[in-house]
């Protein structure tokens, strides 16, 4: 969370101590305060944080929705909505101000990407450079299916009662150093020169 590890500093938490606090809790608190209005003086700082929610719930829900699409530059695996880093709070207030000034979501996102690049987008845009990122999982799944298809098809031909995996592990070649992760690919490779008996019962004694 802090910049100490990277040799950089970020505004100290105490600076924002009055403003920090999980969003959900703040919202609940706001509702409680708004409904009750009994404890006006209690926890003045927290009430101050809750003001925008009560002021304009529509705007605040837009700010929240947009904050969930933007990355906190300090805590890089968090969205602006999740992060309590002072910079995230600042960026959120920028989002709020711009929306209040009548800009739409796309314009605010443009503003952020102009300053912080595509990195600020929690959901990477669809580009040539990100094609592998988007398609990678599907390609891997397809490859896995293809390998499984070939392998299972071959196992089926032998009318085997045992599972293909048991076959592979019991096979003489598989024990010659195949890593478990590469097992499937190796099975396909082995298919061609695998002895017949592997798919069925072990050879009879004295065969």
């Amino acid at each position: 969370m802090t910049g100490a590890a990277s040799g950089r500093a970020h505004p100290t938490p105490r600076r924002a101590a009055g403003r920090a606090g999980p969003q959900g809790r703040a919202r609940t608190l706001a509702l409680v305060l708004a409904a009750g209005l009994l404890t006006g003086a209690a926890t003045a700082t927290r009430a101050a944080e809750a003001v925008p929610v009560a002021e304009d719930p529509v705007l605040e829900s837009r700010v929240q929705a947009l904050s969930e699409q933007l990355r906190c530059l300090v805590c890089q695996n968090q969205t602006l909505a999740d992060s309590h880093a002072p910079l995230a709070q600042d960026l959120k207030s920028v989002v709020r101000d711009q929306l209040r000034a009548g800009r739409d979501e796309a314009q605010v996102i443009d503003y952020m990407t102009q300053r912080y690049g595509d990195f600020v987008l929690y959901r990477p845009p669809w580009r040539a450079a990100t094609a592998l990122l988007w398609l990678g999982p599907a390609l891997l799944a397809l490859a896995g299916l293809a390998v499984a298809w070939r392998h299972l098809g071959r196992a089926g031909h032998g009318a085997s009662a045992t599972s293909p995996r048991t076959d592979a592990q019991g096979g003489p070649k598989a024990t010659s150093g195949a890593a478990a992760a590469a097992g499937a690919a190796l099975d396909v490779a082995q298919g061609a020169d695998r002895p017949d008996w592997l798919d069925g019962a072990p050879p009879a004694r004295g065969h």
Binding site: L140, A146, A189
Partner: protein, 191 residues
């Protein structure tokens, strides 16, 4: 990914046993390259674009203001710093030395700081800045794409951002990345 499986079937049997090793080597190579990347250093999309304008009160005299346009015609540095920033303290002696040695104007952007603390810092540690602009709410920092301190921007004669150093400037980064660029920009097309 289907292609390797097909290729695997086509390989001579005695090579197939090396497939897992090859897959491991490829993975190790990719992870090794990944280790050299610095995800904390987000490249600035501003490089090669005009520096964002601002006008902020000057620390030494809040009645006056500083605007980047006033630096037109000069190659200068904008150093984002704060008195609460420990790495800035490490960086500071170098800035003082550079201001003395090189004559490249350095402008400070005092980021989300208390002016009293900032002034005390400059009194005690030396003031390398031509001027220090006070960005008390951090909005100008955001406008410049600052996401931590220190950061240092190099701006050319035409007000175009040329380089950004994320984190404390060191003698090494200065000599390797910044100084050659400064000299090149200073020589290029004197107005």
């Amino acid at each position: 990914m289907n292609a390797p499986a097909v290729a695997a079937a086509a390989l001579p049997p005695r090579w197939r046993r090396y497939l897992p090793l090859a897959a491991f080597a490829l993975l190790a190579l990719l992870l090794g390259v990944g280790l050299t990347l610095k995800p904390r250093e987000v490249p600035s999309p501003f490089i090669g674009k005009p520096a964002p304008a601002f006008s902020l009160p000057v620390l030494a005299d809040p009645a006056r203001s500083f605007a980047p346009e006033s630096m037109r015609g000069q190659v200068w540095l904008l150093n984002v710093w704060a008195s609460w920033c420990a790495p800035c303290r490490d960086e500071h002696p170098l800035l003082v030395a550079l201001a003395r040695e090189t004559g490249v104007p350095i402008v400070g952007l005092n980021y989300k700081d208390d002016p009293r603390n900032a002034q005390e810092w400059l009194l005690r540690l030396g003031d390398p800045y031509r001027a220090t602009a006070m960005d008390r709410d951090g909005r100008t920092g955001i406008d410049w794409g600052v996401y931590g301190v220190p950061e240092t921007f190099l701006v050319d004669r035409d007000g175009v951002l040329r380089h950004k150093v994320i984190g404390p400037l060191t003698r090494e980064t200065w000599n390797r990345d910044v100084l050659p660029l400064v000299q090149q920009l200073q020589q290029a097309a004197r107005p």
